[in-house]
Amino acid sequence: MGRYLAQRLVYGVLTFLLIASFTFFLMDLLPGSPFQNQEKLSPEQLDILRDKYNLNDPLPQRYAAYMVNLVQGDLGVSFKYDSRPVTDLIMERIGPSAQLGVQALVLGVLLGLVLGVVAALRHNTAVDYGAMFISVLGISVPSFVFASLLQYYIGVKWGVLPVAFWESPAHTILPTVSLSLGVTASIARFVRTEMLEVTGQDYVTLAKAKGLDGQSITWKHMVRNALIPAITILGPMTAALITGTFVIEKIFAVPGLGELFVSSITQNDYTVIMGTTLFFSAVFIFMILLVDILYGVVDPRIRLGGSK
């Protein structure tokens, strides 16, 4: 188990470094310069500015500088936001995104679990079909469409909830619900499949043969075994959540990292693009590691090993 973890950790770090390098080279190839919008500059002034940001140095030198800074936590400065350190910008905006992400994840997982378990227990009845229809909708309706509609009907037309910005807990409701749709749907489908798989297992029949009642069997025998594989989808789900924040934050004007990323793209703010990309990658890699650890802990077959 320890060896397994160490291996995952090494992979994680390796992947991160790979992404960092890859990002660097990609950014280098981007057409146009960060100063594109400042047409009033003459070529000489442009050159001076480029010098200032070390943009005229040869490639290997810039790469080395980049990596060294990275290790020290320095992600450079933003071109657009008055030379503010990218790290600062990121730190400012983590709050809303983290809150949004966690809320959506928790809501989605809870709802999805209930939906999936109930659907499996009432297999092939109206409840099952209904729940599955909702989850198919959930994965088929893009979050931004759902968010737009929510915003329009609940926010604008009926004026029940705030339409945009992030000022009070009430403001977080619509974005959270929009973002959680995909999570709920994926988890519901997955849990249902796993539960159905478990239902056919011999040990469930044995549990029934012991004379246990429905509730005990469902929770102690079925759900526990069905949930373990469900942990594995939490990894890719994080990626989906991250990308979800890009559009949700745009629609609801949430001052988070997703919004920062999207706007830095349109503004060609290279350092910010690279910085946020790296940050997201780090979060993702970390989550995958966490999921792997969790899985190892929860499943006794992995935790204790030693099958005879």
Binding site: L18, L26, P31, I139, V141, P142, F144, V145, F284
Partner: protein
Amino acid sequence: MAEQNSNAKAEQFDSSLFQPVEFNEQAGERIAGKSLNFWQDAWTRLRKNKAAILSLVIIVIIALLSLFGPMLSGRDAYTQTITQAKLPPKITGLEWAGFDGMATLGEKPIDFYETKQVKDTFWFGTDHLGRDLWSRIWEGTRISLFIGLVAAIIDVLVGVTYGGISAYYGGRVDNIMQRIAEILTGIPNLILIILFILILEPGITTIILAMTITGWIGMSRLVRGQILKLKNQEFVLAARTLGASSARLVFKHLIPNTLGTIIISLMFTIPGAIFFEAFLSFIGLGLAPPQPSLGTLINEGYKELKTFPYLLVIPSTILVLVMISFNMLADGLRDAFDPRLRR
């Protein structure tokens, strides 16, 4: 003694019934019930899944409309006529369903066709530049479907090859290939795609390329899993014992058994690809105007949501229909191909 009793109780039958019947050894060996091959069985099962069949029908209809739609209205997706901008949808005969050319501006519903003095009816209305939305939407659907299909097919080709080679040769080859794939999975997909798109010119080829960079990994993993499972099954050993060559093994035995998984995965990948395209367009990284796609149309529609919701609703509905249909079809296929569900 017991015999005596049974004599008394037993019915008497016609003695001819106790003639022995000539024993036909072959009769017992006859297999009752038609034997269906794998595909026939799957098709029978799929047919019973109403949702899946309905989805298939919807997909076909939408595909046909995307190809022939613009022709039906006689207009193209690009001509801009500003004087005809922002006309709500109007279909003669379907006014009661909302296709009446009216929209609410402020408090009262206004007949926009009257206001702008337009005599033609635009089935889906027009957008902010006066382009016929019907043609534009179907053109956009065609492009989105195309992107989705091509991206998914490339994913399949690359994935099947990679996974197949990895699983077939096993050992060190498999190990190395899997390590590489593992590292690649650690990279958040979308970030890679976005960065990629930033470098190259936005366009159909770019999007397809960007999506396939890491899209194939999922497929390769599935294929690898299937082939590994099959490789160790006895029928492969049996075929080998009978002298089958590697190529024959691969093509006649391993791949047909994997086709089921591949098809299902393909059906799930397509909506994913279409979604991605829509997503990219929504954040502004998709196709460049004036090229329509479901994503760009939704993006444009979003901007006018408060006043002309139909600009968002119609393309969204089509996108959602396509996604649901592919997902349901894929679900149905998966159930139809699952041998365990035979009972």
